[in-house]
Symmetry: none
Subunit: 414 residues, 2 copies
Amino acid sequence: MGVKAVLIVCDGMGDRPVRHGHEWGTPLSAANTPNLDELAAEGVNGIMDVISPGIVPGSDTAHLALLGYDPYEHYAGRGVFEALGAGLELQEGDVAFRANFATVDERLVIKDRRAGRKGDKRLEAAIDGMEIDGVRVILRNTVGHRCAVVLRPLEEGVKLSKYVSDCDPHADGVRVAECKPLRDDDAARRTAAIVNEFLRRSHEILKEHPVNKERAERGVPPANFLLLRGAGEFFQVERFEERWGFRAACVAGASLYKGVARFIGMDVLHVENATGDPNTDLRAKASAALKALEEYDLVFIHVKATDNFGHDGDFEGKKRMLERIDEELIAEVREVARSDTLIAVTADHSTPVSVKRHSGDPVPLLIHGEGVRRDDVSSFDELSAARGGLCRLRGADLMPMLADLMGFFKMYGT
Amino acid sequence: MGVKAVLIVCDGMGDRPVRHGHEWGTPLSAANTPNLDELAAEGVNGIMDVISPGIVPGSDTAHLALLGYDPYEHYAGRGVFEALGAGLELQEGDVAFRANFATVDERLVIKDRRAGRKGDKRLEAAIDGMEIDGVRVILRNTVGHRCAVVLRPLEEGVKLSKYVSDCDPHADGVRVAECKPLRDDDAARRTAAIVNEFLRRSHEILKEHPVNKERAERGVPPANFLLLRGAGEFFQVERFEERWGFRAACVAGASLYKGVARFIGMDVLHVENATGDPNTDLRAKASAALKALEEYDLVFIHVKATDNFGHDGDFEGKKRMLERIDEELIAEVREVARSDTLIAVTADHSTPVSVKRHSGDPVPLLIHGEGVRRDDVSSFDELSAARGGLCRLRGADLMPMLADLMGFFKMYGT
């Protein structure tokens, strides 16, 4: 029986120091986080390049690395994780996309990329199951205007490809982009052709749909187009429990992280009011995680909102979110966890408020629990962590280290 | 003419901190080791993941890495190193095993896995050289009940494989296990069949042998079975001197380490009373190494017993062994070595007394000698080393660093 562990990933938590008021530092160094600081003081700290130094990770590749799957080998493409996170079951050979309900005019110029941020299950039903050239199209409207779209071959020999371009131009006032093959092969050409046919047919159905007439009457932008992006190809990977020898569960709000967890065979727990937004119920996540520890060896808790504040360049917002995490999540986990439960806290990447995007700066990492080599660090932040006993690691090192500390390990050699 | 170097590897020296008496620390931090501490203070220090972070090394893979051979490319399997360590000459295509003389009853249930820890050269002679299906079996009884067994193809085209299961169930009171192929190919099936036939025939010979009748009369468990495990396939690797450009010798007690050294073409020096046990003669090892420096550029000294105390969970024993190493080995080497001789001290892996097994925790490393970038570390232990000027390295980095400091190097590029 091994030791249990909680892995807390605060999305985009890492930052670059800036002058703020009379001080100089990062949102994390400025935040009042007594619980994190105590864990740092009693634990071992370091900085971690989630992919490798200077490489700017996406959230999907970063999480694959943190959870012990080399993304250069296991990256299926964003659409796959979004579709899995939306609860869809995928099959080998499926190609999946993220999608938005959008509002376009008669010339297919985008009036609102998000169709007033409102989807509709009746519109989903009108499209879902469409068949085009031996492929079934599965549509799922997840939250607001957001959707997942899956192309599933219905016949042996119909090969699809993730190497097709986005039709979402990421801007209003421009025309919808045509989907183009990004490789010179049959699968990419076929996939692009099916996507374009799907966009045409679904637009025909949506623009005439009574729901959109109702919306127009109520002044809601009609959801008359599906903008696809982020094609991914699903394939089976070794399940987490087989790979690492222990059972893991995921507590997350945002669908991407649930999708990555499902992709690698982790169980995803439903937590009421875990939204993936700044209003998420952190105490509910903490208590769901602690309960799950009765059944699972490792619980991975994801908190999204730190990243949102980074993208917004909101120093104070990010700082306050970190203070909330400290009080409502870290404190709860610390208090209730068994004394020998390992607690690891880190980020998937930095999202510095000064640059408002993901960056390649390493993230801080602390590991607290019996047997760790305590260091002199007494504050949890990017600058202090760099002086810690873990020195500098890579994201791929995290899961082997936790597995070893938990007592689940495979010796290499004899 | 390059600088000379001594590399001292204390097996399993790395540990995890625990509370002991009124203190908190590791056996190494608790031990009184003035010589190691002076070397640390005058040298440069760091922590090292012998394979990579969190990966738990076996002793064989770890030593390949430390001596500059990527184990993922050069690992031949334990049996090969044991056979070489026993002094056997191996040929390309040989499959080698570790073996025990054991005592079994008429139903092949194991009564004593180690046959009273007593072997016999006359029993070796009765079995050695047996031929089965185009394969010669070579048996060497090394120390006590321990043996090495080699299967050598006598004809072109007879291919053997290391992918066969152990027949040693590692427990008394259970039946000897049948050797099974672990891959679905001819070589594995042939090897398993030959092993099983060897077990049968050697048991027939051993159980009737006069030596075992004598043993029975004296109350010594008969050595009537050979338990094989750890199959390895021998192949030639680039010799150490070719690879690194300088000559190296090995001073070790235990056969595994001598075997790894022979495998890579290092000379192995015979040292009287270097036993691989806690009673080993450390001063004899030191003086043999210093003498060897006249002829060799690098001498690798291996000390096994620190690992034994780790496996036993014996904090005080490990601490005292480290104190003996400091006084009887490190002090001697320091005193007699030329002032410009490099001294590197490290471990092949951690064997924490708290978990009584190898672990993935990094090991401390110090390098002392002219030109190294001295840091602020003044004590040689796992926690202090992490603050040293070498930061965090991998085992594969050690030999290139030593070669460079010694003045033997190949520039990469121009």
